[in-house]
Point group: C2
């Protein structure tokens, strides 16, 4: 299993909107860079818009950032594109046998551990901003 690539594509979209801020960043333009279908991009743009990260309008070409990059963390993107639900990074097998000692109690024992593990992962994402990401991309080359 793997967390959906919607997450990395979401990051890609935001980075490209920033780096292309003099041009028009349409779904077609984004799709070419990501190498996917414009409809996939539009779906993701809708999610990013709903989360207040970008501004897009029907009929008007191009997306713009709704916040400064330094105020958008990877966690914001992660939540926006809906790749992992709260407390559901790990799935726990349902309906173990209630007559059994282990079956009756294991879920409550395991759940807080799984939640803590998920939180630790998410905290790493909280500490990286899109500004960091774009800065790193920009450092790799001088000319587009």
């Amino acid at each position: 299993m793997s967390i959906s690539s919607r997450f990395s594509v979401g990051i890609h979209i935001l980075a490209l909107i920033e780096l292309n801020n003099e041009g028009v960043t349409s779904s077609e333009f984004l799709a070419a860079s990501v190498n996917t279908n414009p409809a996939v991009i539009r779906k993701l743009m809708g999610m990013l818009k709903k989360a207040g990260l970008i501004e897009v309008q029907p009929g008007i070409a191009g997306a713009k950032l709704a916040k400064e990059l330094s105020r958008i963390t990877l966690f914001d993107v992660y939540k926006a594109v809906n790749v992992v639900q709260e407390k559901e990074l790990f799935s726990i097998h349902g309906s173990p046998h209630p007559d059994c000692f282990v079956g009756r109690n294991i879920q409550h024992t395991i759940e807080p551990i799984f939640t803590a593990a998920q939180l630790a992962m998410e905290n790493v994402l909280r500490n990286v901003t899109m500004e960091d990401v774009v800065g790193d991309i920009a450092n790799k080359e001088n000319i587009c």
Copy 2:
């Protein structure tokens, strides 16, 4: 998306082997407690055996722990049942456009961040042993 319940079932299996150590912990017995099919259990037993966590033999009923519980961490179980590959908790979209500034560099920028996030999650699992888990289950009740 969610990490497969193979992980929580694997934990369930090890805990029950310990708590039932006076009886015979067969795949059928385990399947009843987990509430699944014995063949599913046997597949997982094979994985746990391969990882050196339990001892099982063809024809001989029941599994035994191959190590003390205090020497088995949740990370060991997680690796044993193969729910997440190394560096692959997050999937990154493949083949972004190489002519694009962002497309060319985003993978290398994102990858170490994703790896760090995965590692943070895994480190939580490394710090919990099966002894902790079984102790917690045992604390919940006095009689089986």
